[in-house]
Symmetry: C2
Subunit: 853 residues, 2 copies
């Protein structure tokens, strides 16, 4: 999560521009790409042929998808294993250092504190230098990418390196950070890089939608190999990243995640860490009587409390970010010294968790993993409130304190870890929030479980047989509930089953998770949606639950009525003006301004190409040659002997103009600023030749320049010839009366960016993501963009009879159109306005030109 | 699965007509409905107001969805529990009967055989009489309904009753039948009925899309409360019924299924069946070392073999159905005696499983549940191939036979149950195939497990410690793999975890299930898709894996170019002809036959209403009155004294005509046959008055009748006034170059029935589900509808340069249109042809009229 640079208003805009640029690049690059590939083919000819043959054989036998998914699973399992290994080493080093210095507390403290500060600073610095996009969780970005938005820098090799190295260091520091979110990102990076690698062999990897499917599978792999939880991974990734899920991609995720989890655990067996393949945090609860029916209220309480806790965590996290951003002085200071904030935070957290210091009251010496193992332990830590007489094992000993009660320690642990985690996840290093929250949830569950065990020391009686209460089960329930509440997912339940290797507590866990979700979802967005809002990523928010208004808001209430369009009769001038106006991605093409029948949409780049082509160097030269020919004829008629000289002179003129005449009215992909820049370079080009020539030459040149401008003006007034232009003949259309609910569904289903609103073929408006987002947020927070709320609420009580009437009235428009009543549009004044502007611009250019001479 | 009547070509057509009828009914009924509600309101005024207030309070507090889902879960849990209880009673009765008669084998046999025959016959008969739709699994129909097709009779109270009673009897008979599929259907029925019930209180339950969401949740509840497996239920229902899944509905399924499973298990606790809430088929495998890494190949073998077995099962099932249908003599005989086929099948199956007879070699005395419990048992049945020295418990004793080996018995069991299950699931009773397949899979797994245990009696060595092999684990893997292969789902793995309450075998199960799916999916469709094909339900098949052709087939290759359309200038005669032609649901409205600009689409019913209204009784009377007025004026001018009489005469004529003049050219919802019928009744109406009147009257009448016909003809030639007609102004549009893959995605995403193909606003074709289905099946089976396969394959090698060129050429059409070149259409000859027909028809009517007098 980058604190400074990225957390700005402009990221959305930036992303959108980037997306547009990529698309244009792709288009412009396509012909040279072919050439390039051909050359590549010549270089690697032998190797390439071999590879292609091998690959074709394999593909035909096994199918490309399978190979891809196996490779992805394998790579991710290796990455996960190696990273875990390194993290374990780093954590061990810290323990060893502070353990070796236990003679001197100050030295020990320095060692304990310096180590994480150095690691975190390195992680933040490395991430910042190599790829600032690597900071943070990555799940919000993946969600946005899977929504169809292209975030260019998020799927590069640089980002991969930064994320892997940064994450290893960050987790090695012992701060309460998680690896789940980053792993989703790493897996997606892996998939994207593999796709690139495999498209080198050709095949279907250049297909856009195929790549998206693979990215979705990669998200599942990320979670799967992080927790060795294939099913939970698939479900979690679906819940977290998708709005509509294509069931036909389901098997991809399952296959890759299972394979990855399998390899991940097999590596552990080969490394002699484990005897066989088992769960990561194996529990040993009794199977025959996992819990009593009467314990269910306690589980429900855990669920509800976790719901509130989860919402609070999200709120706290956002509050910290917003506070840091608002405080101008702090912000300025931190912007200068980028590494200071992470270092300070790390210092604070590690000081507080220093084991001989305050850390003794919150089990500071345990790593996240050890803490979880101790929480999931079968045995009760307390019997009738006395902590003395129970048999501590190595990890559980951390919870024993001579002065303090187990309950007090647990409460301190929960409170301290809560704000620490919320704070730590705002650091600009690769880190996730899932695991810290999971641990806090487990601690809370354990607290409730220990309380229950203290309350019913003999267990809750059922028919004579005594089954003591298992606080470990409560810890499992709490972990699932709190992580579910923070991420707004139900599948944390499944992850927990796979993590612990036991499913006996399925009903309590499901009940707690669902209750936690219900509470949290009604209070706050999920942590990922919260980050999306903070980072202003271009994402469509979800519709809330049970908000009836969304059925009553219609497209006509939210659409933009002033649509930019071009007609079949448009002149190039109109095109030019449309391009100057703003940041439209596509422009609507209508039959005529009177009929307004929507014929299709044309991309901005296409229009630019049209305009550039029409005013191209070639056509200019042609015009000049034609004029020169005419001149020559005139000259030859007037003075036949000097025809040779005159011809030479004209030729000279032509060559001068050829060298100087880059488009006088430059049409570039970026219309405003760069256009001005290029103009100045163009004028420089003009300057250089003219300064060498005599004054008379300059004047004739100027005269010709005016001629060219005249020609240009004349060209601009011509009708556009759309023949060489790619038109999308079926842009998505909505109707005025389409409900907000349906619009949202269609936008999310098809990943639309905008849709035209038509009424019987006539273009009457346009709805883009922005309007939709505003409307949704408006419908939830009362204030908003309800342009016609009284009508909308009136419609609510309207019966089917009246609605059909109102739909019938639309036909009048049809008849109006048919009887050819022209509709006055505000386009005309607009045109004249910008005409004035362009005249001014023209005048300005001539002035600068004269002054330069 | 109805064997006879329903398995016909026409079901698809039938369903479509039904769908159309429902929609029309809904439209026609809407005004009276309001009246009805108002009266209802008066009747239950006090009670209603109270209920509404209560309900509003609750809704505002808890949300309508929650209440609905809780109710649904509760009802389904009760249904499931009661049904299980009844089934257990029925099965116990059979055992008790045959057990009590063990002195006489023949009597015992008779009792053993008669009992299931009676139950199955009753079930088949009851289902047939009450609701034939209740037969079979129900999942294929639910899949179709969730796809957006309205199958009217499948969601009624009658069907609910038939399904519940029929299923209880069928399962009580002891045949290898399952309850999962029917439970999905029952839950959906429950949800539909609850929706109806709750829409009585008002609220959002009238919303179409909301109902679909609720049905999706209901499917999850069905599986969830059948196996007490909420997570597996949700996933299974998603995999089986959805193509694209809206993640925002996820929680609904989870919530309802969890609640339902909870209540279902709590009922068992209250009934003292269980001590606390646990899994249905609880296993007790060891946790610390569930399986050795070296056993994985065996698990993989189970997976692959299950894949082949699953495909074989689907094939066998389809083969039996098709065989029964093809054999005309058998078919005719069975059609007469509907109950004979079920009775014969039951007789055969129960004879073979008679415990003292052949049943002793296949554990015939065990019920499905007992069989499963014995398969999932921890202990090995065999030690070094000897079956003597192991300690049998009650169920496992069935697998001991003095003459035969355990392996032999298991093989016989698998083979016999395999064809028995495939046969039994074709019976016309409510039944599913999941459980029988699950049992067979478990048996196969057990067989492999026992073999492994015999092969490695000491377990596979790992570092000195001996862990014996657990054949029960193999049984679990086999069960998941085979049921996964038959249904093409991965979530059977999750169901198995929840059923057994253990997740320790997660990796073997996932590997086996994925392998089984990979094999089965490449060989056969899933059992549900197979039934959809057999029943010819209107469902879009899935795209296969890795078929590249689907990216190269374009809409233009598969679309129908001869689209029926009406224009803004169409006359009522055109309308009439379009309506006569066929079974179009909607008709395209274009601007004119020359421009072909698509303006929208109009539903058939709307056009019918337009036509009926234009030739309505009121307008006829008006015309006659106008004419009478004109006549009267003429009469009054000619002979003033007899004006009174003339006026009376005219009045009499009018009244005659009023009584007789139902529309002369009746326009009914069913255009062809019923139209003829009504015509004859109309002529009878004409006959009765005329026979009482004098001949001169008849002739004047006839003259007037001709006048009316003339008027009618004149009316038909008028231009249609679309003012009172509901037009869908934005029907879904595709482009010629849209790929099959994208088209399929869009059709499945939006649940489309047809889409128009346009080229820059011009209508050039239409694609309906049928074409798409043909194209997909064609692209898979080589032969097919590839209208332009050479081009399609040519396009494959086409580069981006050529494609943009071809896209640019489309513009010529635009210009053509703009310069108003009319396109010759084959519509003209068509019109004249049907004109001739209508003339003939008219002549025929006059002749019959004259002859009748």
């Amino acid at each position: 999560m980058t604190m400074y640079g990225r957390y700005t208003q402009e990221l959305g805009v930036y992303a959108r521009e980037e997306a547009a640029r990529i698309r244009e690049d792709g288009r412009h690059r396509s012909p040279p790409l072919k050439l390039l590939e051909y050359e590549k083919g010549r270089c690697f000819s032998l190797c390439g042929v071999c590879a292609v043959h091998c690959q074709r054989f394999l593909m035909s036998r096994v199918g490309e998808d399978w190979i891809f998914l196996i490779l992805l699973g394998l790579v991710m399992a290796l990455v996960s294993f190696v990273m875990d290994f390194c993290i374990a080493l780093l954590l061990q080093a810290q323990k060893w250092m502070s353990g070796g210095l236990d003679s001197n507390v100050i030295l020990q403290y320095l060692a304990w504190v310096t180590y994480p500060v150095v690691l975190i600073s390195f992680s933040a610095g490395f991430t910042h230098i190599v790829a600032p996009q690597a900071a943070g969780s990555g799940i919000p970005e993946m969600k946005t990418i899977l929504r169809g938005v292209v975030l260019k820098e998020y799927l590069t090799l640089k980002t991969f390196v930064a994320k892997v190295v940064g994450l290893t260091c960050a987790l090695g520091s012992g701060l309460p950070l998680g690896k789940e979110g980053p792993f989703v990102h790493i897996a997606s990076l892996c998939a994207a890089l593999l796709c690139k690698f495999m498209s080198f062999f050709g095949g279907i990897y250049e297909n856009e939608s195929r790549n998206t499917e693979m990215l979705a599978a990669a998200c599942a792999v990320g979670v799967g190999c992080c927790f060795a939880a294939p099913i939970g991974g698939v479900l979690f990734s679906i819940e977290v990243t998708s709005t509509f899920f294509a069931v036909r991609n389901y098997w991809r995720g399952f296959f890759a995640a299972t394979f990855s989890a399998f390899i991940f655990r097999v590596l552990a067996v080969w490394n002699r860490d484990e005897e066989t393949i088992t769960a990561l945090f194996k529990t040993r609860f009794r199977l025959d009587f996992p819990f009593d029916l009467q314990e269910l209220p306690a589980f429900a309480v855990i669920g509800i409390a976790s719901g509130f806790g989860g919402a609070l965590f999200v709120y706290l996290n956002r509050l910290i970010v917003q506070f840091m951003r608002k405080q101008k002085t702090i912000n300025k200071f931190l912007m200068k010294k980028r590494l200071l904030y992470p270092a300070l935070v790390t210092l604070l957290i590690s000081t507080l968790s220093f084991p001989p210091g305050f850390g003794q009251f919150m089990a500071g010496q345990l790593t996240q993993k050890e803490t979880l193992v101790s929480f999931f332990d079968n045995r009760t830590w307390t019997k009738q409130g006395m902590t003395e007489d129970f048999n501590y094992d190595s990890h559980s000993a951390a919870w024993k304190h001579p002065q303090a009660n187990v309950f007090v320690i647990l409460v301190i642990f929960i409170v301290m870890k809560f704000w620490m985690s919320a704070l730590a996840t705002t650091l600009p290093v690769p880190c996730g929030a899932f695991m810290p929250v999971f641990v806090i949830g487990a601690a809370f569950g354990r607290l409730v479980g220990e309380s229950m065990a203290a309350w019913f020391p003999e267990g809750i009686n059922t028919d004579g047989i005594i089954y003591p209460i298992v606080p470990g089960g409560y810890a499992v329930v709490g972990a699932a509930a709190l992580s579910g509440a923070v991420t707004h997912t139900v599948s944390t339940a499944v992850i927990v089953f796979e993590l612990t290797g036991q499913i006996s507590h399925i009903l309590p866990i499901m009940i707690a998770v669902i209750l936690a979700n219900a509470v949290a979802q009604s209070l706050q967005p999920s942590i990922y949606d919260s980050i999306i809002r903070i980072k202003k990523l271009p994402y469509l928010p979800e519709l809330g639950w049970g908000h009836h208004e969304k059925y009553n808001i219609r497209v006509e209430d939210i659409m933009v009525r002033d649509v930019r369009y071009i007609t079949l009769n448009s002149t190039y001038r109109d095109l030019h003006e449309i391009l100057l106006i703003g940041n439209l991605k596509t422009v609507a093409l209508v039959e005529s301004a009177e009929s307004m029948i929507l014929l299709g949409s044309i991309e901005r780049a296409q229009l630019q190409a049209l305009l550039t082509q029409h005013l191209s160097r070639e056509r200019r030269l042609e015009f000049i040659r034609d004029r020169a020919d005419a001149e020559r004829k005139r000259v030859s008629v007037v003075s036949t002997p000097s025809s040779e000289e005159g011809g030479q002179k004209v030729n000279h003129e032509i060559s001068t103009e050829e060298s100087s005449f880059t488009p006088a009215r430059p049409i570039s992909p970026k219309p405003l600023k760069p256009a001005l820049k290029r103009t100045s370079t163009a004028e420089k080009n003009i300057e250089i030749p003219t300064s060498n020539i005599t004054h008379t030459h300059t004047f004739t040149y100027l005269w010709k320049h005016f001629k060219i401008e005249e020609w240009e003006e004349q060209q601009l007034d011509e009708q556009v010839n759309f023949n060489s232009c790619k038109i999308d003949p079926a842009p998505f259309q909505l109707v005025e009366r389409t409900s907000l609910h349906k619009t949202h569904t269609i936008f999310s289903l098809l990943g639309l960016d905008h849709a035209y609103v038509t009424s019987i073929g006539r273009l009457i408006g346009v709805v883009s993501l922005r309007e939709l987002r505003k409307a949704i947020e408006g419908s939830m927070t009362v204030k908003g963009v309800k342009v016609r709320p009284p009508l909308a609420s009136f419609r609510d009580s309207g019966t089917s009879g009246t609605s059909s009437e109102s739909e019938a009235t639309e036909l009048h428009k049809l008849w109006d159109r048919h009887t050819s009543i022209s509709i006055p549009r505000e386009h005309q004044p607009n045109t004249s306005d910008s005409d004035e502007k362009s005249h001014l611009f023209f005048f300005f250019r001539i002035m600068t030109f004269l002054l330069a001479n």
